[in-house]
Symmetry: C2
């Protein structure tokens, strides 16, 4: 079994939760590609959403984790890339649904909105949950290439 | 004051909440562009997310409302269009944050996850809340055109 690489990034409003999630990823045996930011200096969230999108599109990572204040802005940036299916997740259930139905490959959190333990639990669920395929496969294909 | 046009669409898992929200939009005086679906027959959510994105990109609507089972899949489709800033919203607060910080122009709901009254309240807040501009403007520009 090869080790899966997870790209992770945040803006300044999300770097503290990102650090916690990064530790969890390493402890769970993933290779982690840290694309910043790593401190409180103000940065622009789109740059970090795009960076994780590029890492996935270029095959440098299989999955991604993103954090900003609400999770919304950074998820919009990531979803500009057709290789990305990014879901803003508020709990374990939304994390599992995003995997089951949408084959989501990027999980997004709002550090100002979700507690640390809820985010850790949701990320763990997201990484473990399989895609259901079937009719959902046709829909996911339409997210990659519009037909 | 000109009347704002709001495009609205859902898949089969969201058509009932869509009907309620459509009535609210009309009652509030918006012009409503209904792009379907309007019944329980199975359809593919990306088609409806793309349709609302096209309506906004083509200037046929200023804002959009989307509903699917979780809100996630249809928001990914809408965000493929650089003219769209679509936010999956779980309550009044996330609706307002999406407007204040991200100038979101499409609000997405998961009919299986949010109650009808919470969704109505969030949509009302979303439509009323102004964008804060300032530093957020530079970031929103980066969502439209990557620099």
């Amino acid at each position: 079994m090869t080790t899966k690489t997870v790209a992770i990034a945040s803006d300044h409003a999300g770097y503290q939760l990102k650090a916690v999630l990064m530790d969890d990823l390493k402890a769970a045996g993933y290779d982690v590609l840290n694309l910043g930011t790593d401190g409180p200096e103000s940065v622009d969230y789109p740059d970090f959403g795009y960076a994780v999108g590029d890492a996935i599109a270029d095959g440098k990572a299989e999955m991604g984790v993103l954090v900003c204040g609400s999770g919304i802005g950074i998820s919009i940036a990531a979803n500009r890339n057709p290789a990305v299916r990014a879901a803003v997740v508020s709990d374990n259930l939304t994390a599992r649904l995003a995997r089951q139905h949408n084959d989501a490959n990027v999980i997004c959190f709002g550090e100002r909105l979700i507690g640390v333990e809820a985010a850790r639990d949701a990320m763990r669920a997201f990484l473990a949950e399989p895609f259901e395929g079937g009719r959902h496969g046709r829909r996911v294909d339409k997210l990659t290439s519009r037909t």
